[in-house]
Amino acid sequence: MTRTINRIAAVLAALATAAMGMAFLLLASSGVVPGASPAADERKQLLVAQAERAATVEGVFLDRYGDNITLPNEPGKAARAVHPEAYSYLLGYSSEIYGQSGLRARYQTAFGGGKDHVGPEIRLTIDSGMQQFAYDLLAGTEGSCVILDAETGEVLALTSRSDAELGLNLEQLDSAFQDYLKRDAFFLDRAVRVEDPPGSTFKLVTAAALIENGVSGFTCDDCTELRVGGTVIHNFGGAAYRSVDLKTALQNSVNVYFAKAGLELGAEKLADTARRFLYGVPIETDFGTFTSKFGLGERTGHLQLASTALGQGETATCPLHISMMMTAVLNRGVIMTPHVIDSISDDGKTSTTKPETASRAISAATAEELKRLLHNNALSYGFDESYGTVYAKTGTADTSRGNHVYILAGVEDVGGRKLAICLDQCNTTASSVILLPKMRSLLQFLQSY
């Protein structure tokens, strides 16, 4: 009997020891004792941050007039989007499962919940009316629309569509995410993240280089074709031109003229002007950093130089940067840094964004000359005075996925502002002509807005 009792005691003691061991393991692996388990400590920090986010009401976004772009929701849940598609790429999604993107990833996470567990109130420079109109304009296409205030750098519209048949709807993210994943490059913000040649819109830079370097009088007697390094450069549609000057070349987008002009200028001068237009220079904005590729150097070959001058070669950029080129024309040669945040209010404190100069690309005189040339272009496209004073240049770039077409426009005195606009469409077989009706529609809207 005594042996039995002793054995019982031994069993119970063993089980009690097992329980104590489990308690010890619990303490060691739960991160309550710092340093006991580095892996647990690290994971705990991550979870605490996630838990903090889950307990926080996501702050709201407002447009430039104080109207809600998002509406507050329960703690831990994404704020409801008032315009679930028009702002989708700029605003970004916020999902427990798929994470965050866009401005939400950039700002709501950084600010956290504060003392009141409510995220910051962020006022954008975006005009909701322009944003929605621009988004509707892109229906049935893949492309983007950027509208900048040339004098302040404020982004008035920045919208994108990455699929002709399906739009990114922020309110349907969880249910439609798997469908979105099946679409190629669906989450690519085509306004800022695409890297394609600028096409003939780059001729604005080449023209600026010609003017700045006193070669604006350059003419091309025979602009039918140009043979460079075993490659033949043609004009669009194989058109032949004779005795072409800068005005005619820009109006008709004569590839041979600009190729010859680039060779005339030389790589160094063209590259210098391009750099002042921020090609190859990181553009740091409050919604991301963008760097357009630019391939001109000291040892650039003639073919590369000629191709670059007409907007092909190794140059790759995004529609936002293309619109920034027009701001130099409108703003007396000064490019302002684009910004989309107007002010951020959190825990009773408000910080406001001040306009910053990104670059003095060209002189005021050059800007005036370019205005004259581009206004001539606009008139040839049919943008008469009923659309305001318009400056324009179209562009069609060859890419591996088809054409990427652009129309770059500047318009003065829209509600006292000077607006630079870039409207583009990618993965198409058509030329930039297809964008003319859309730009007319946009200009009419802006005049009546």
Partner: protein, 486 residues
């Protein structure tokens, strides 16, 4: 009437087969039940009379004050005494008070064990009320209250008497036959029932879902107790008898995919043999053989799994597999995925979701709990310990572990002698609770184990309270009122 039998030699009874044998057994069972209810009635009447004693009332007041202080401390730890906590306070104190009253008035030697169970009940109620408030579903707390009340009523009115009938009154052989027949019948019912996530654990009777494996644990403890008490048999025969009693349980539990319960009962069997039998070496050999058998049993499971899930280059052969192969493959997959859920969360994928959430809860808990909302699946039952840690902190979790250990220690200390069935129940309860805590913390690859007095489960409440009341009633001290003498 002294029903507190020691480890005694039970004489072998002459075999009585056929219809006469069944009739004799039925008569014996009826007599035993009547005797036991009479004994229980005498104890309860003795307890009522004991309330006239000032000292008993003083002890009850001390216990009540202690429970109130515990309740206040729990409410303080939760940060506030909300309406829902108040609604949890009354039923939890009520049910804890019943246990305390029984221990003071009827079975005074079991005071320590009763108090540990009472504090666990308080913690369980506060835990469930916190969960109900978080999910805005007050009916969850109502369900827990109902299950606990039914558990106490069932335990006192049916569970305890039946356990004592089989442990004290019936002769070993017929008792064993009845128990094993009932167990096999229950397992066959379970196997015929629809499976839930691969496990056959529930049957539905008249809209009520019963988890028969919980009740089969009680039967297994009683049966093993009967076998080891039969000292007239040699150790070798008792050892063999123990194995034969447990083997059907382990087999059926494995077929029902209740592997955690099977492992617990196997451990209880090993403990019973080690404590009550003299052949230690035989025990070691048996353990090694069992482990080898379990390993070998996995081989056909793995083969079936590989057949149903061939490599990509091989042609799929799932359509040719028999139902048995499907079942074996399910067993292997379940074990494999659960081990992965503990060792490699990424490979476990969706299957490891519950373990991942439990680990998150553990990391966010801190010493005193957190307001973080970690979506814990089945937080009211299988992951109750994980939820407890999250809401009340690691200190409370460790306290609960201590209480789970303290209860059997206190119960064992109050036993005048070593009662095998009681010992088996103590070990079963403690192992189940530890397995529940370990699985909720992601330490072991098992799931679906409820935590004693914390989890919300109807059949689990019936079993827990029945076993707890039986353990309290094994106290060496009893107040028995004999009507004939008063």
């Amino acid at each position: 009437m002294d029903t507190n039998k020691a480890l005694t030699i039970l004489p072998a009874e002459p075999a009585a087969g056929g219809k006469r044998g069944i009739a004799l057994q039925a008569a014996a069972l009826k007599t035993a039940i009547c005797k036991e209810y009479a004994a229980l009635g005498a104890e309860l009447r003795g307890g009522i009379r004991a309330l006239n004693d000032r000292e008993v009332r003083l002890h009850l007041a001390e216990d009540a004050l202690f429970l109130l202080l515990c309740a206040a401390l729990l409410a303080f730890m939760r940060g506030s005494v909300t309406e829902l906590f108040l609604s949890a306070l009354i039923p939890s104190l009520g049910i804890a008070a019943v246990l305390v009253l029984l221990s003071e008035a009827v079975w005074p030697g079991a005071r320590a064990a009763a108090m540990t169970i009472a504090v666990l009940i308080l913690i369980g109620f506060f835990l469930q009320s916190s969960l109900a408030a978080e999910r805005e579903a007050p009916e969850m707390l109502g369900k827990f209250v109902l299950f606990s009340a039914i558990g106490i009523a069932f335990g006192l009115g049916l569970g305890l008497p039946l356990i004592r009938v089989f442990d004290d009154h019936l002769k070993p052989a017929p008792a064993l036959r009845l128990l094993q027949t009932a167990a096999i019948g229950a397992y066959l019912l379970l196997l015929a029932s629809p499976s839930v996530n691969g496990a056959h654990n529930w049957i539905t009777l008249g809209g009520i879902s019963l988890q028969l494996t919980e009740l089969c644990k009680i039967e297994a403890c009683l049966a093993t107790g009967i076998v080891v008490r039969a000292a007239s048999l040699s150790d070798r025969k008792r050892f063999t008898g123990l194995a034969l009693v447990l083997a059907p349980h382990l087999l059926f539990l494995a077929l029902c995919n209740e592997l955690s319960t099977a492992i617990i009962l196997a451990a209880v069997g090993v403990m019973m043999a080690g404590v009550f039998l003299r052949q230690g070496r035989r025990l070691v050999v048996a353990c090694v053989l069992c482990a080898l058998a379990a390993g070998c049993a996995l081989l056909p499971c793995r083969a079936a799994y590989c057949k149903l899930h061939p490599a990509e280059e091989a042609a799929p052969a799932a359509a040719e597999a028999s139902p048995l192969e499907h079942r074996l493959a399910d067993v292997y997959e379940k074990i494999h995925m659960r081990v992965l859920a503990v060792t490699d969360e990424e490979q476990a994928g969706d299957f490891g979701y519950q373990q991942t959430q439990a680990k998150k809860a553990r990391l966010l808990a801190g010493w005193f709990g957190s307001d973080s909302r970690v979506p814990l699946p089945v937080a009211e039952s299988d992951f109750a310990f994980s939820y407890l840690i999250l809401k009340m902190g690691l200190l409370t979790g460790i306290l609960v572990l201590l209480l789970w250990c303290a209860m059997p220690l206190a119960a064992a200390a109050s036993l005048r002698s070593a009662r095998p069935a009681a010992m088996a129940m103590l070990t079963t309860m403690l192992l189940t609770n530890l397995a529940s805590a370990a699985s909720a913390c992601g330490f072991i690859p098992v799931m679906g184990v409820g935590a004693g007095f914390l989890s919300c489960g109807g059949t689990q409440s019936l079993a827990n309270f029945s076993m707890s009341l039986y353990l309290l009633s094994c106290s060496e001290e009893r107040r028995i009122h004999d009507d004939k003498n008063h």
